[in-house]
Symmetry: C2
């Protein structure tokens, strides 16, 4: 069933005029009266809705029932160092599929890519589009929040119960040793460095602030692969037993 | 340390004339006499080598010592249904980083993308290049083998001790229940369907031949994401405790 997100609460009957959604329903999917969609509202819940009428300008919907809420038992924020466009956007799209709840683009000592002030708004809109589409595709009931680009030294670690930082020189603590102690309700921050890793200064500062470095297996992973590995491992550990 | 693969065994002293490697060493990395590289040979082992002389046409190397062998305790073959070029090539590159040992492109009932006979050789050469580069980057000691495009009904399941097939309608067996029973020396085949999944006929046939369907968490994953998730989970379960 096709899923859409709107920026308003879901009502018993409602008419939508959102151009993107209407284009998709009318022109792309060629839906008709009687067809059903999943519609997710600003309250963070999704409902099965039936189309009562549809033309190219608006659609009238009737609410049928609430859909199953797919949620991790923990909350996961991914703070991903800025890297080249293609792998960076991959971490956004796959991060949504793999269960992240929030995303923070990070500026680090070895970050080569920068988001300049002039492009910041356009970039943010593009990131939001990627995340929204991935949320629809993977049938999430809410769209993960994307923060503005943040320098590592300004990243606030205090809202989280656990802060993990994959680090290739870490030889003692494996991801499994770290993740299998997690509990329902934990707030997890994953901090992923750029190509070339964090600087020694950054590693020390993060550890001083309470971050735990972990190893993600014996191979050298690219930055984006480390993100996908860590998110997959969290889902595997917490969602598939 | 930069790593390269050659199609010959490593000797105590050796001179290479491989154009790709020389271009990379001489023009891209601008290496000089005395610099060290990791060189992996056809015997499946890598050695630290010192450059004794280097010009644009050949390089003379002296073997120093064997490097640590990074190997899963199990062998993993990824049979990935053919999907669009970008995500398909992503499964190849990331599959290498995440520890697969062999790769089989699969033709299934719902496979839209085909490799026609005319392009097969060119495609295979491209796949080999992606896998070789990813093996160098992730410091693997051997390059995973890529099989030719194979129709699902001709896929031989008998060489494997375990055959797993992620399947979104599977609600009973989680990946963790399945993977935590694995032992050293197991030969694992992961079968990943195309966008749209396997047909009912294919699911039945695979189960009849001994494949086990598993669930990879509650969200709907794209085909390529399912591959990355399953490989990450295997590494997490077997390599990080």
């Amino acid at each position: 069933m096709q899923q859409y997100f709107i920026d308003a609460p879901i009502q018993a009957t409602m008419t939508l005029e959102n151009a993107d959604i209407l284009h998709h329903m009318y022109h792309v999917m060629r839906m008709e009266k009687g067809a059903r969609i999943a519609l997710c509202g600003s309250e963070g819940a999704c409902y099965e809705m039936e189309i009562e009428s549809l033309n190219k300008d608006n659609v009238s919907l009737k609410r049928l029932h609430k859909l199953r809420d797919i949620k991790h038992t923990v909350s996961i924020t991914l703070a991903q160092a800025l890297i080249r466009k293609t792998p960076f956007e991959l971490t956004l799209q796959k991060g949504v599929e793999l269960g992240m709840d929030a995303f923070i683009p990070l500026e680090t000592d070895r970050t080569v890519v920068k988001i300049n002030a002039k492009d910041a708004q356009k970039k943010h809109a593009r990131f939001e589009k990627i995340v929204r589409e991935a949320s629809e595709q993977s049938r999430r009931s809410s769209v993960p929040e994307i923060h503005g680009s943040t320098p590592l030294e300004r990243l606030d670690l205090t809202p989280y119960t656990h802060v993990f930082m994959p680090y290739e020189n870490e030889t003692t603590l494996g991801a499994k040793d770290a993740f299998q102690t997690l509990d329902k309700g934990d707030k997890i921050l994953l901090i992923i460095g750029p190509e070339g890793g964090f600087s020694d200064r950054e590693i020390k500062s993060l550890k001083d602030k309470g971050a735990t470095s972990i190893a993600l297996g014996p191979r050298i992973l690219r930055s984006e692969t480390a993100s996908l590995y860590a998110l997959s491992a969290l889902s595997y550990e917490l969602e598939t037993r």
